[in-house]
């Protein structure tokens, strides 16, 4: 198992290196931070700009290959992912951002999964009954409603509640109240008030996909021959489904879960923007807008790493639920 993981890890490190390098070349040739500097007031002279960039290791006079070698040397020797045009260090910024993204999504991912899979099983067992139709219709609805719109709607709802109650129960933006004093309990309540709205919003639009997938895969197996065999042994229909069909139907779902989690971590910029949680997702968009070569490449590298982890997780999950797949 360890050998297998090591082998896979080596392959993925190689792939991450390739994508990141390609991303760097793309960024360094297309992003021109010097143009943005021209809009500053007072407008700096081109010499000043070039000078300032040279000090930050962003010398526009060097060829892309020279900059790539410098950048790569920095990472390999000092684990230094470079600086932004405004002088910030990517390393420092990155740590904060990853933590914020993780906090924003962790709770909702767990809730999404549990609710989605549970409802999928529930609706499959009640195929074409009213509850199934209602839940599945809802899932298709959130499938087609763009996520930002749903987030805004939840925000509006929370604001409405606040107005009705006449007190600020929920915070619709931000991570915590700046400068809040008080004991641990007050901190905790403040945290809940900030977490509730984004977690709720991401969860209710997220579980639809899992519900549809789980329902579909389970229905494919409900009438499978092996379920019939289980019933012929003397299990009731529901026992046969929960003991035999469920695990088989969970195999493809487990795979898709492992792949979607990293996608949310790295790419949840709508949620981050709307709820004003400044995580990795919004940073990657901002980096491009600010013509920030190093930050853009770093977010890309982070995305690749987290995808590789997802792929290994997917393999792992599959071997866990499906004995036909054995790691060699």
């Amino acid at each position: 198992m360890l050998r297998y993981l090591a082998k896979r890890a080596v392959t993925y490190v190689f792939m991450i290196f390739l994508t990141t390098s390609a991303g760097y070349f793309l960024a360094v040739t297309s992003l021109q931070p010097a143009l943005l500097e021209q809009e500053k007031i007072p407008r700096p002279t081109p010499e000043q700009v070039a000078n300032s960039f040279r000090l930050k290791g962003l010398d526009p006079a060097l060829s892309p290959w020279e900059r790539y070698v410098d950048w790569l040397t920095g990472i390999v020797t000092r684990w230094d992912w470079g600086r932004s045009p405004n002088g910030a260090f990517v390393n420092a910024e990155f740590g904060d951002r990853v933590w914020i993204s993780t906090r924003l999504f962790l709770a909702s991912i767990i809730l999404t999964l549990i609710i989605g899979v549970a409802l999928g099983v529930y609706t499959a067992a009640r195929q074409y009954k009213f509850s199934d139709r209602a839940i599945t219709s809802y899932s298709y609805l959130v499938y087609i409603v763009p996520a930002p719109i749903a987030y805004f709607l939840v925000q509006l709802g929370a604001i409405n509640i606040n107005e009705t109650v006449g007190d600020r129960l929920f915070f619709v933006t931000g991570i915590s109240t700046p400068g809040l004093d008080g004991d641990g309990w007050a901190q905790f309540v403040d945290m809940l008030a900030h977490y509730a709205v984004p977690t709720f919003a991401i969860t209710i639009v997220g579980w639809g996909a899992y519900q549809i997938a789980q329902r579909q895969y389970l229905l494919d197996n409900v009438n499978a021959d092996f379920v019939r065999t289980a019933r012929a042994k003397g299990l009731t229909r529901n026992q046969a489904i929960t003991r035999h069909a469920l695990r088989v139907s969970f195999i493809p779902v487990a795979q898709s879960i492992a792949f979607t989690i990293p996608a949310i971590f790295a790419g949840g910029f709508f949620a981050e923007k709307i709820f004003a949680w400044h995580g990795v997702g919004s940073w990657s968009i901002d980096a491009i807008a600010l013509q920030d070569v190093n930050a853009a490449t770093a977010t890309l590298a982070y995305g690749s790493v987290i995808f590789a982890i997802g792929a290994i997780l997917a393999d792992f999950a599959t071997t866990l639920v499906d004995p036909r797949v054995r790691v060699q």
């Binding site: 092996f226 042994k233 003397g234 695990r247 004995p323």
Partner: protein, 748 residues
């Protein structure tokens, strides 16, 4: 009929119970007293979008302890639905009425939960497809133990495990203790079916229902599984309901037979009554439609024209009347009931037939006459000795080896799969040559190698004088395709559903550059040739039945006037009655058009019927080859003998007294093939040989040698046909006359 009984609950069960007793009538009251399972007036209806399908229309039978009832019928006759209705496994939307009593307890109307006390306990079932019937994610051990745990909650873990090991040993799985932890995918189809049987007999059932238990298996494995079923029945004393479409499979096993047609039993009786004295034209037709592996004399098979009725519309007359050659006006008024026809079958079921003419039918009536079976077609080539005919296909030492690779980035070869290993044979004009063997022996690869026709192939393929070695450019290949065409196994999959029959048939003709008017004319000819109505050319394939689709496939192959037609399992997807018509057609075409066939088939009865010559393949090699009658009547190679003895024959008396060679295990992986004789690992002679003899089998590869008294191929063209005709039979075995291992011989 109690079609209004849709309510559930004990009161319904009570009422049905009474109704069941009532309809039982005088013939059953006695028998049902000792019966372990009695079914009365069973009806099943399904609500579909097109209307209510009345799938089972009144079944009555009594099953005595330890006895076997065979339910025989074609697809759609309602036999599987009957078994599922007894088990209570039909979907809730199905409407089941009547009475099913197990040891006097009414089962119909019970809730799913209440039924669970019986299912898997007193009433167990083995299903058709062993590959999909076991849960892939659990070990076989846990699946057997589950069956024990459901009905014996107090049993200890050790006791359950011990019982599971015992069961696996009973069904013949080697080293059962270790295999408990194996997953289903690590077992072959035959092994999985054994596991299914072990699960079914786990709680010593009183009734065991086997629904086509061997249909998905090879003949050698079928023989093994039937043997296991036999042991299981002896061990548990269960009564068995054996559902099958194969009249051979039940001939040796069943005490009673029920023949079903269109959801109704049309003839019931003891096994001898049904096989030797059928009184219903459908049964007679079914028996006549099956080719026999043990009969050399060639007579046409009995085709039953037409297709079974649609069960959405209630039949007003005899449901078989539209297909019955004896059908008259009287047959169309009122559906005939099962009438006693007198007989002494000795089973629990009285011999009865649902036919108004059963009185005039009997053992002395020739079924070939009734069904107007066509004359045996004689080809103009049959007169000419084989040696004087031109060869249409020649294979010389054709090999196909697949390298077995390991490793993700850098592959290294860890072995070779010799799918086809040095095949040589030829096919002469007007001759049908068949290749037989278990799945995995290389039959299909051989066909693919012939169709490939590339000069880089290992070995030479000569088709109609064109060799793959000298010329395999596009032009020669096109010429080769004109000589050789193919008919595929699955007629539905082989026809484009969006092409009309006209387009299907026109494609090869357009490809060969024929003019439009000529194409039209040729298509009409073809339709007539294969027995289809020419005005149906604008229909799509889904508007035809399976047999008709296969006829379209044959017409497509014949479009360009090939000399040789390659038939890949041409009838295995078809029902018995339909199969007979297609076989007769193939026979007729061979004679009329002077065609040659290269056929691959697993059904040796069909092979015997249609072929002139046969080759038996085992692990990529021909182990025996020669004239079909000499190979089948006087098999020399132990594998051929085992194959032939494994085939059930629709003749109960013969079946009961036959000696069978039951091969151990499955076809080994080509990787594990021994250095010497491939067959040594399963050979019944090898097992009985002294060590010195075994040594020879293991180290030397036996070459093909002519059978004693036979001449080499075509060496004596002067000899005419007759009982003393020399054969060109060859076989590859050192000890063809060796003693057979007694462990592998079974007589019932």
């Amino acid at each position: 009929m109690s079609s209004e009984t849709t309510a559930t609950g004990p009161s319904t069960a009570e009422r049905l119970h009474v109704a069941g007793l009532h309809t039982a009538g005088r013939h059953y009251t006695d028998a049902s007293a000792g019966a372990v399972l009695s079914v009365r007036d069973l009806h099943v209806r399904f609500n579909t979008e097109n209307g209510v399908v009345h799938a089972v229309r009144g079944i009555d039978f009594d099953l005595l302890p330890g006895k076997t009832l065979g339910i025989v019928g074609e697809s759609g006759s309602g036999k599987s639905v009957t078994s599922m209705a007894i088990m209570g496994l039909l979907p809730q939307t199905a409407e089941v009425t009547g009475s099913v009593r197990l040891n006097g307890t009414e089962l119909l109307g019970l809730s799913d939960k209440a039924m669970c006390r019986f299912r898997g306990n007193d009433l167990a079932m083995v299903f058709q497809d062993p590959l999909s019937s076991l849960t892939p994610v659990y070990t076989v051990g846990s699946q057997i133990i589950e069956a024990l745990a459901v009905h014996n909650p107090t049993m200890s873990k050790q006791a359950k495990e011990a019982r599971a090991v015992e069961l696996l040993g009973l069904v013949g799985i080697p080293s059962p203790k270790d295999r408990l932890k194996a997953f289903p995918h690590e077992f072959s189809g035959g092994m999985r079916q054994r596991v299914m049987i072990a699960i079914a007999i786990a709680n010593n059932p009183r009734v065991l229902i086997a629904d086509e238990p061997t249909t998905a298996l090879d003949v050698t494995i079928q023989a093994q599984v039937l043997e296991v079923l036999h042991t299981a029945q002896e061990e548990t004393g269960a009564a068995v309901v054996m559902i099958t479409h194969d009249l051979g499979v039940v001939a040796g096993m069943a005490d009673d037979i029920m023949v079903m047609y269109a959801g109704k039993p049309v003839e019931t009786g003891g096994v001898d009554d049904i096989y030797y004295n059928p009184r219903m034209p459908y049964t007679m037709g079914l028996l006549g439609a099956v080719p026999r592996v043990d009969v050399a004399e060639k007579s046409s098979l009995v085709p039953i024209e037409g297709i079974p009725p649609n069960l959405i519309h209630a039949p007003t007359g005899c449901s078989f009347a539209p297909r019955c050659p004896l059908g008259t006006e009287a047959c169309l008024h009122g559906e005939p009931a099962l009438w006693p026809v007198g007989g002494s079958g000795g089973g629990a079921l009285e011999h009865k037939a649902a036919c108004i003419k059963s009185g005039t039918l009997g053992a002395d009536v020739d079924v070939h006459e009734i069904f107007r079976a066509p004359e045996v077609a004689v080809s103009r080539f049959d007169e000419i000795p084989r040696g004087d005919r031109k060869a249409v296909l020649e294979l010389k030492d054709v090999k196909k080896h697949f390298p077995l690779l390991k490793g993700a980035l850098i592959k290294r070869r860890i072995g070779t799969v010799k799918a086809v290993d040095g095949l040589s044979f030829d096919i002469r004009e007007g001759e049908c040559f068949s290749i037989v063997g278990e799945s995995g022996c290389g039959k299909t690869t051989t066909l693919l190698e012939i169709m490939e026709f590339h000069k880089d192939q290992d070995g030479e393929v000569v088709i109609g004088g064109l060799s793959n070695k000298t010329a395999s450019d596009a032009k020669t290949k096109a010429a080769m395709r004109k000589e050789l065409q193919m008919v595929f196994q699955d007629p539905t999959g082989a026809l484009d559903p969006r092409f009309t029959v006209y387009e299907v048939l026109a494609e090869p003709l357009e490809n060969s550059g024929m003019a439009k008017p000529a194409i039209r004319k040729r298509i009409m000819e073809l339709m007539e040739l294969v027995g289809l109505q020419p005005d149906h050319v604008n229909r799509f394939p889904n508007q035809f039945s399976g047999g008709q689709r296969q006829r379209i496939g044959i017409a497509r192959a014949l479009a360009v006037n090939p000399k040789l037609v390659v038939l890949d399992e041409p009838v295995s997807a078809l029902d018995v009655s339909v199969q007979a018509g297609v076989i007769n057609l193939l026979d007729k075409l061979r004679a009329e058009l002077g065609l040659s066939y290269l056929m691959v088939a697993h059904d040796l009865s069909v092979v015997r019927h249609i072929s002139n010559r046969v080759a038996v393949m085992y692990l990529g090699k021909i182990v025996e080859i020669g004239d079909v009658d000499s190979v089948f009547d006087n098999p020399r190679h132990p594998y051929t003998r085992a194959l032939l003895s494994a085939i059930p024959v629709p003749d109960p008396q013969l079946e009961r007294s036959r000696e069978r060679i039951i091969l151990q295990g499955d076809l080994p992986s080509p990787l594990d093939a021994p250095k010497g004789c491939n067959f040594a690992t399963r050979c019944p002679i090898f097992a009985a040989l002294p060590p010195a003899g075994q040594e020879r089998c293991l180290t030397l590869e036996p070459p093909l040698q002519p059978a004693a008294g036979a001449n080499p191929a075509g060496a004596n063209p002067a000899a005419g046909p007759g009982p003393t005709a020399p054969t060109d039979q060859q076989f590859a075995c050192f000890y063809p006359d060796g003693e057979l291992d007694t462990d592998m011989l079974v007589v019932h």
